[in-house]
Symmetry: C2
């Protein structure tokens, strides 16, 4: 009977524990679950978020895996006390939500919806008609589960989509570039740029003064990935100069974004409160239970983190 | 050598005549084109819009077909002087534009973008996170080329889509209902209703007081179809009572919509100036040229209007 420890917030425990235990039962797994480990050495799996109490994994000497409820693992991946396999959450519900957010905001920019909503003054302006999507190039930085799905949805709507990943990767239906030269090419071509990279030392301030200057003048940026991907001061300067026409930002270095932060007041920034993609308990529970089943059966884990790469 | 008469506005002639003649040349058709018919009996094809001078087709005794540059033919279909085959425009560019408009405004409602854009005051509101698309039912009234394509794009994004047409019709990937009972069912189930029916005597005021009352309280309406589909007074009353939460309207009984019309000032109406889908000269020219080729070869025309049905 595997021992499972939940280390997350009270709200997360209330939302996730029941469907996870149910999904384990459906797989014939008889689980003993707790929120406090009386005997850490006996714990087989920890289901965790950085909002839970466990930060020192050393006492969990028999740990088979640490299973994250969050897609982003930057706050755990560098923890030297965690030596057991670490698995990220790749939740189909989270992916669906991200695709909806990205597609919605890309179409908002493409159709000029902000201008349409502002043009309710009685003047008929047929010039608001947009070009077709096949005249618009969308750059997607990051071709993981989220970037690949968002890029595919945009391509299905007719947009020209060019994706980028640090290491070469192929995603069906998308033009995929990689490496530093590929990054510069994507930045030069994208009218709308979507950033869906993980937070790693290599992606810290990926969009800095130099790279923002490579964009087409008047490009738009959508960042539902990680706040650390963008140099905030450089972005604000690019917005002020018109080099970047508009930015829609869902993630920030400090969350909640402080009330006095200049992003809130900037006329060309839309702040969304980290709502692009939330893990959904029902579908996430299936991923956790499946990984426990795999661990018990000695099969390889799903979505195991490459500690060297950081994601 | 077939004789072609253009009967449309100057702007339309300037935009469409060159690509149409080019597309005819590509098909090996040697065309003699004019804007004024010196000998009406010799005209083989009229490429027209209601903005052109021809309204009496009786003198065109040798006419092989009247080829509309517009998708909507309600201003010509009842003209008793036109006895030759009448063909509508079904332009792939127009369809693409309509899919983009419908998908963009459905996602705008789904993601609550108007509220997001209004919430830039420094307060972090994680409650703005929307449900997933598979919790949202979209009703599509009209399953012609435009309705079918828009419904398919929404279904691909994960929305529950239920389509309706007067006569039974099947569209792959969509639940399709028909008849009066089917209409009531779609109205009852749709959280967001998209109207893409043609303007005919049967669809005049389709959404009237009675049918608007069948909608879920707080439903949203997107009308990129025809202004005549909606009883304007009934819609304004439903908006005032909250029965309909919001309407996005692209087409009107009078266009341009007069500056004093109550739609402009209503806080829960977005007016767009008939921009959902414009015929694109390049792709439309291919449709016209193909129909001329078919006429010369004695093959059946594309998109021929059923005069009894009105579309």
């Amino acid at each position: 009977m595997p021992d499972l420890l939940f280390s997350c917030s009270d709200d997360e425990h209330a939302a996730f524990a029941p469907p996870i235990l149910e999904a384990c039962r459906e797989r014939g797994l008889d689980i003993r679950a707790a929120r406090v480990a009386l005997n850490p050495a006996a714990v087989d799996y920890i289901v965790f978020t950085p909002d839970g109490p466990v930060s020192d994994f050393a006492p969990f000497t028999g740990l088979k895996a640490a299973l994250s409820l969050w897609a982003g693992v930057e706050r755990i991946v560098g923890n030297p006390s965690l030596t057991a396999p670490l698995c990220r959450m790749v939740d189909p519900g989270l992916t669906a939500g991200m695709v909806e957010y990205v597609t919605g905001h890309v179409l908002r920019y493409h159709l000029g919806l902000d201008a349409v909503l502002a043009a309710q003054d009685g003047e008929w302006r047929p010039g608001l008609a947009p070009p077709l999507a096949d005249h618009r190039t969308i750059g997607i930085l990051g071709l993981g589960a989220l970037g690949a799905a968002a890029g595919g949805a945009l391509a299905a709507l007719g947009f020209r989509v060019v994706g980028w990943s640090r290491r070469p990767k192929q995603v069906e239906g998308l033009e995929c570039l990689s490496g530093e030269a590929g990054l510069i090419e994507v930045l030069m071509r994208a009218g709308i740029l979507v950033t869906l990279l993980p937070a790693t030392p290599e992606t810290e301030n990926l969009l800095d003064v130099t790279r923002l200057a490579v964009l087409q003048r008047g490009a738009r940026i959508i960042n539902p990935g990680r706040g650390s991907l963008i140099d905030e001061a450089a972005l604000l300067a690019a917005l002020d100069s018109g080099q970047v026409a508009h930015a829609t930002l869902d993630v920030f270095r400090t969350e909640p974004l402080p009330p006095g932060h200049p992003f809130w007041a900037h006329p060309n920034v839309t702040v969304t409160p980290h709502i692009a993609a939330a893990t959904r308990p029902g579908s996430a529970a299936q991923v956790i239970a499946e990984n426990i089943r795999r661990g018990e059966a000695g099969e390889p884990f799903l979505h195991r983190v490459d500690r060297g790469a950081g994601y």
